[in-house]
Symmetry: C2
Subunit: 316 residues, 2 copies
């Protein structure tokens, strides 16, 4: 390694099984960012950069020269909530086209699934029963997106392009073409009015913990749909079961849960109107993430500010 | 009705239950095209225009002044195959944005479903089993579309925009951006090579009857997927079951069948890797269809040629 060049080694503290995808991606896309997979007992004192999936406190406390933490996903609440990470170290949220594209794909796929009430067809197929089923045009369907950040606004744009009616809600007012933006707690009721498919892509913060609850469900039309692809902590799970039982909600798609993996015996497992994916709605793509991380490291080395740095006060 | 204006009344010979959607759509979108729902015993001799779902020979033979037949869907093989319809009467295939959009929506939805092997997750959910599942990026997935007409090329464009690798096959060579076009029987083997998700949107003709068979499946990679949203007649159903049994195909989505409704006891009903919709992959939207039919009637009255007229020699 050149002595005039700063140490660009990146320490990977992640789900071990994915290292096999990350190593070749960095070798191909960012060969000047040596990618080092953390192993127990490794001397990590010299690393300036780390990419972390879940905090591992004993390792983090040994990173005495750390300058930047890259989160491996879009949500960084676990990193922000880890007291072993000093406040001075910036935590960069992962924003890369593979991750955004995957989430948009998930939201569109599940929106179409519920828009067409495909669960009715699945139930009919299990009973070997043919049904003459019609469904409205996309422009007759009102979608509401909680959260209009990187992921929410990308999903909103695609759903609009696709012909759906879309409105969005977020902490502060946002501008997305053809998407009516509602902001703050006081505008939540107006936002919820008439929403037939409610999609949650919020960050998990003190303000949004438990935000999807009976109070929200009761403001939706009867027979509405919930898609939660954000965090389990956004949802009051007991309220969801009750809303499905009363018919206020017709069905729900969940990618995230209070406890993951979802525990054995949890009532969601065999609920006929809950469709689940194992927290893989979207995956960070190593190839496109490598390009993004290299770009950010180059900014940092040039004295430019890092982008997508989590705000500790805001909580994301 | 003005005596100087030609008789624009349109006779609707369709699935009765949908008339309730069509009547108000014409009233709103094409009020100068009186929409008349056929009833038994009606005197139909004066009608110049008819829109027909399935041919009804006794009615058709009484339409002595008929100038144009509008098909109610994209496929017109039943109308072309009806000897009671004189060759001189042009048969217009339905091409309207609602129908095209619905088919594109269906193909995208089912492509994402299989791209992510969601059936693996559904199987796991039924066993209350959490799986750590990864899946490739869209640009690592090869889609092949049989048929690059109105519907096939629209689906291809969206899948490309979406990031998938797409190639297409049709009778004659087509030009769709970033979609490699293969043409004719001699190029079918090259087209099939490496196709992981095969989508059929062909017209049903003498040449395409039974085209999806063991010979085709054996040229696909192991574990491939079939999506048939065209006509049941394209598929050799016994060959499909065999290909699923051998693992050549991992799963299939079918919207259409040799016999519809699919008969009781048919092996497709309870096959764990066949996902079925009841021939409703896409629906003609009365509102947008009314605008299109009015446009075509105005062309016809002005002496301009009708568009999307089926070619009796080509068979679609």
């Amino acid at each position: 390694m050149s002595v005039t060049r700063k140490d660009r080694r990146l320490l990977f503290i992640g789900a071990g099984e994915r290292a096999d995808d990350w190593v070749p991606a960095f070798a191909a896309q960012a060969p000047d960012v040596p990618f080092i997979v953390y192993e127990d007992g490794m001397d990590v004192g010299a690393f300036r950069y780390a990419i972390i999936w879940r905090p591992n406190p004993p390792v983090v406390t040994q990173l005495s020269n750390l300058e930047v933490i890259f989160g491996m996903g879009a949500g960084v609440e676990r990193l922000l909530g880890d007291p072993s990470i000093p406040d001075r170290i910036p935590i960069v949220r992962m924003v890369e086209p593979g991750l955004t594209g995957g989430m948009v794909e998930y939201v569109l796929w599940q929106t179409i699934y519920h828009h067409r009430r495909i669960w009715e067809l699945e139930e009919a197929q299990r009973e070997a029963r043919w049904v003459n089923q019609y469904y409205p045009a996309p422009w007759e369907r009102q979608i509401g997106i909680l959260g209009l950040g990187q992921l929410g606004s990308a999903a909103a744009r695609l759903l609009v392009e696709y012909g759906f009616k879309v409105k969005g809600w977020s902490r502060s007012r946002k501008s997305v073409d053809e998407v009516k933006s509602f902001a703050g707690a006081e505008e939540l009721p107006q936002f919820l009015e008439g929403v037939e498919i409610l999609v949650c892509l919020l960050p998990l913060t003190a303000d949004t913990q438990g935000i999807i609850n009976a109070g929200v469900f009761n403001q939706l039309p009867m027979g509405s749909i919930l898609i939660n692809a954000a965090r389990g902590g956004h949802l009051n799970e007991a309220d969801l079961l009750q809303a499905l039982g009363s018919g206020r909600l017709a069905a729900a798609t969940l990618d995230v849960f209070h406890v993951e993996p979802l525990p054995e015996g949890h009532p969601f497992w065999l609920h006929p109107r809950i469709f689940m994916t194992p927290h893989n709605a979207s995956l960070t793509h190593p190839a496109t993430a490598a390009i993004e991380i290299k770009r950010q490291i180059e900014r940092h080395e040039s004295g430019l500010p890092l982008e997508h740095v989590a705000d500790r006060n805001r909580g994301y």
